[in-house]
C-alpha cells in the first residue's frame, strides 16, 4: 500500500544575503499513512517548520527545492507552479498554525471566515456554506451553533480560536492536515482538549495529520510514529513509544534527558510526610544539559551535524554522513556509532 504522503530526500535552500544559498533542509525522508498522526520533533532551526512550508508551497519564490514529495501516489508536490498549488493547498493539504490569533482575520466573523473559502473552493451557495460551517463547528466541539458563527475572534479564548482554525482547515475535507505547533501557545489544560480533538478527528473520519512539535510529551501522547530533526536532517525515526522510551540516537536521548523528570510517579513517601530538606536534595541532581547550542542547517559541519555536541562521537563521525541503520522494523537511526544508550528512565 502506498503512503498518503511520501517524501523522499527533500532538500530546500533559501537565497541568503549577497547571493549566498542557505540550506534549510538537507535531506528529509518521511511518510504519512492514511488515518495516522505522525510527529516531527526538533529544536528551533531544525527544519521542521520548513518541511511543512515546502509541503504547502509556502516557501519564498526563489527557494530551491529538490527531492520528491508525492501525495496519494499520484501528485508530485515538488516543482509546482503557483497556480498548480491552488488545486492542492487548502483542499487536499490544509494547515493549522501555532498562532490562531494571527491565522484568523480580526474583523471578520467566524461564520464569514469559515464560509468564504468553501464558497470559492466547493462552489456552495450562502445557505449551503453556512449549514456546512455549523456542521464543522460541531465537529470541532464549539458550542453555540449560529451564535458562534456571528462571533469575532477576539471574543473567543485561545483554545476556541484554535478550534475555529482547525474547522477552517477541515472545510474542504483535506486528505492531510499539517499542524505546526498548534498547542504551543496554549495552557496545558486547553492543550489537552486540542490533542483530544485531533485524536477524535482521526478516529471518526480517518484524518491524517503531520504534527510538528518541540514537546516530546505531546509527541508521546498523540502520535503513532515520529521523526526527530536536527540541523535539517532526520536523526531518528520510528514508532513514537519505542523512539522515546528506547532511543538509539544520542541526540534523541540527550533531548529526553534534558527534560524535567515529569514522567516519574508523582507519589509521596510511604508515611506521607515530606522531609523539610526534600527539595534541596532533589535539586542536587541538576538537569542534564546538551553541551553547546543547536546549529542551523547552513552552519552544520560536514559529517554528522550533531557530532560536535555528541558524547559518543568518534573521529569518523566528523568526516562523512552517518549511514542510516534500521535497528528494528520501522525504527531507523542515522548514527555511525550506535552506542548502547542506557534506557531513559520512564
Amino acid at each position: 500500500m502506498t503512503a498518503l504522503l511520501d517524501v523522499r530526500h527533500l532538500a530546500v535552500s533559501l537565497p541568503g544575503a549577497g547571493g549566498q544559498v542557505l540550506p534549510v533542509i538537507h535531506d528529509a525522508t518521511l511518510q504519512v499513512s492514511r488515518g495516522e498522526i505522525v510527529g516531527i520533533a526538533g529544536e528551533s532551526g531544525s527544519g521542521k517548520s520548513m518541511t511543512a512550508q515546502a509541503l504547502l508551497g509556502l516557501l519564498p519564490e526563489r527557494a530551491q527545492v529538490s527531492g520528491s514529495a508525492v501525495l496519494d501516489g499520484n501528485t508530485e508536490l515538488v516543482g509546482r507552479s503557483g497556480r498548480a498549488w491552488r488545486t492542492v493547498r487548502g483542499t487536499r493539504i490544509a494547515m493549522v498554525f501555532q498562532d490562531a490569533t494571527a491565522a484568523l482575520h480580526p474583523m471578520l466573523t467566524v461564520g464569514r471566515q469559515l464560509t468564504e473559502h468553501m464558497r470559492e473552493h466547493l462552489g456552495l451557495d450562502r445557505r449551503a456554506a453556512e449549514a456546512r460551517a455549523l456542521d464543522l463547528l460541531d465537529r470541532v466541539r464549539i458550542p453555540g451553533g449560529r451564535g458562534a458563527l456571528r462571533s469575532y475572534p477576539h471574543q473567543l479564548s485561545g483554545g476556541m480560536r484554535q478550534r475555529v482554525a482547525i474547522a477552517s482547515a477541515l472545510a474542504c475535507e483535506p486528505e492531510l492536515l499539517i499542524a505546526d505547533e498548534p498547542t504551543t501557545a496554549l495552557d496545558v489544560t486547553v492543550q489537552a482538549g486540542i490533542l483530544e480533538l485531533f485524536d477524535e478527528l482521526r478516529r471518526e473520519s480517518g484524518l491524517s495529520v503531520l504534527f510538528i512539535t518541540h514537546d516530546l510529551g505531546v509527541l508521546a501522547a498523540l502520535t503513532v510514529r515520529a521523526y526527530v530533526f536536527y540541523a535539517g536532517r532526520v536523526m531518528e525515526s520510528g514508532p513514537t513509544g519505542e523512539l522515546l522510551l528506547r532511543p538509539r540516537h544520542p541526540y534523541t536521548a540527550a533531548l529526553l534527558h534534558a527534560r524535567p523528570h515529569a514522567d516519574d510517579s508523582w507519589t509521596l513517601p510511604e508515611d506521607g510526610v515530606t522531609r523539610p530538606d526534600e527539595a534541596a536534595e532533589r535539586r542536587t541532581q541538576p538537569l542534564v544539559t546538551i553541551p553547546g547550542s543547536a546549529v542551523s542547517p547552513a552552519a552544520a559541519p560536514p559529517g554528522c551535524p550533531f557530532a560536535p555536541r555528541c558524547a559518543y562521537a568518534e573521529a569518523a563521525c566528523t568526516g562523512e554522513l552517518p549511514p542510516v541503520t534500521e535497528v528494528r522494523p520501522g525504527h531507523a537511526v542515522a548514527c555511525r556509532v550506535l552506542p548502547d544508550l542506557t534506557e531513559v528512565p520512564a
Binding site: 505531546v218 534534558a258 532533589r282 538537569l287
Partner: protein, 321 residues
C-alpha cells in the same frame, strides 16, 4: 524571617465600562532566603499581576508586600533606595529586557550601589559575569552578539548586582530552546544555594516547577487555591484544580494516553463566580460549593476547598502534626 512576605495582597485594575477587576484577590505567601517558591496557574490567573505588585511595578489595592519586614514602595520617578532594590526581577524575554544599544557591562553595572570607583565597578561586573558562566570580555560587547540563553544569563547577572534577597523570575526559560532551558534552570538553582537568595519562580511549566521548587503555590482566578511542599502538592493534591493541572500534562510512558482536558475556561475576572471560583469547571462540585470554601491547613500545606476539609478528617499520618 522571610525575605519576602505577601500578606493578603490584592491588585485591582479599573477601566471604563468594565468597572474594577480584581486580578489578585487576597494572596498570602512567603519566600525565605535560599528557597524556591513555584507559582503555577493558567494564563489569566493573576500570576504576573502578583509578580508586578511584589516588585512595586503595580500598587497593591489592599494588603501588603514586605521585603525583609519592610513594605515595598511603589516604583516612581526617583531612583530606588537601597532597600527597594533588594528585590529584582528576571523577565521572560531576554531579547526585550536588555537594551540593544548599551554594552553588557554597563547594563550589569546599573544595579551596583553608587559611589564606587570605576575600577571596583569593573571588577564587580567581571565577578557577576563569571558567576553566571559568562566570560569577562562579554562586558564590552552588545546583547545582539549573544544567544537567547546567554542573554538570559546576562539578565540574571544584572539582577544579582544589588545583592538582592529575592529574585522574581517570571517565566524565565519559556522563550528558550530545550538545551538552553536546562542550562538556565541549573544556573538559577545553583545560585539559590550559593548566594542564599530566595526565588519566586513563576511558570506555566508544571513539570519544571515540580523539579526545582521547595514550595508550590497553585493560583486560580486571583487566589492561591493550594500551596504546600512541592512533593506533597504533586504527590497528594487536595484541590481538584491542582489535580486537573497534573492530569493535563502529557507524559512519556510505556502505556501512552492522551492527557485529560479541563472543561470550560477561566472566567472573566470581572465576573467572579460566587462561592468557590473553580465551581463552574470543577468535576466534583457539590451544592455547598456555592458558598465561599474554607481554607483548610494540612500540616505545612493549605487548600481552599470544601472537599479538603473531609480529607483532613480522614486519618492520615501526614495530618497528625
Amino acid at each position: 524571617m522571610s525575605a519576602l512576605t505577601v500578606d493578603d495582597a490584592a491588585v485591582e485594575y479599573s477601566s471604563r465600562g468594565r468597572g474594577t477587576v480584581r486580578a489578585v484577590d487576597g494572596v498570602s505567601l512567603e519566600v525565605a532566603r535560599g528557597q524556591i517558591v513555584g507559582l503555577v496557574g493558567e494564563s489569566g490567573c493573576g500570576k504576573s499581576s502578583l509578580a508586578r505588585a511584589v516588585a512595586g511595578l503595580e500598587p497593591v489595592a489592599s494588603g501588603q508586600v514586605l521585603i525583609d519586614g519592610r513594605p515595598v514602595s511603589p516604583l516612581g520617578w526617583r531612583r530606588r533606595t537601597g532597600q527597594d532594590v533588594r528585590l529584582q526581577m528576571v523577565f521572560q524575554n531576554p531579547y526585550a529586557s536588555l537594551n540593544p544599544r548599551r554594552t553588557v557591562g554597563s547594563q550589569v553595572a546599573d544595579g551596583l550601589p553608587e559611589g564606587r570607583s570605576s575600577a571596583v565597578r569593573h571588577a564587580e561586573v567581571s565577578r557577576l559575569l563569571d558567576l553566571v558562566g559568562m566570560p569577562a570580555d562579554a562586558a564590552a560587547r552588545y546583547p545582539h552578539q549573544f544567544s537567547g540563553g546567554q542573554r538570559q544569563r546576562i539578565a540574571i547577572a544584572r539582577a544579582l548586582a544589588p545583592e538582592p534577597e529575592v529574585l522574581i523570575a517570571d517565566e524565565p526559560v519559556t522563550a528558550l530552546d530545550a538545551s538552553s532551558q536546562a542550562q538556565i534552570v541549573n544556573l538559577l538553582v545553583s545560585l539559590v544555594a550559593e548566594l542564599s537568595v530566595g526565588v519566586l519562580f513563576i511558570s506555566h511549566d508544571l513539570a519544571l516547577v515540580r523539579e526545582i521548587a521547595d514550595i508550590t503555590a497553585v493560583m486560580y482566578l486571583g487566589r492561591i487555591v493550594e500551596m504546600g511542599p512541592t512533593q506533597q502538592v504533586w504527590g497528594a493534591p487536595r484541590h481538584p484544580y491542582t489535580r486537573a493541572l497534573i492530569d493535563a500534562l502529557p507524559r512519556i510512558t510505556e502505556a501512552p494516553r492522551l492527557p485529560v482536558p479541563l472543561r470550560g475556561e477561566v472566567p472573566d475576572a470581572a465576573h467572579v463566580p460566587t462561592g468557590c471560583r473553580f465551581r463552574p469547571r470543577c468535576p466534583v462540585a457539590m451544592d455547598v460549593c456555592t458558598e465561599q470554601p474554607p481554607i483548610i491547613t494540612l500540616g505545612p500545606a493549605m487548600a481552599e476547598c470544601w472537599l479538603a476539609e473531609s480529607a483532613r478528617d480522614d486519618d492520615r499520618p501526614s495530618d497528625k502534626h
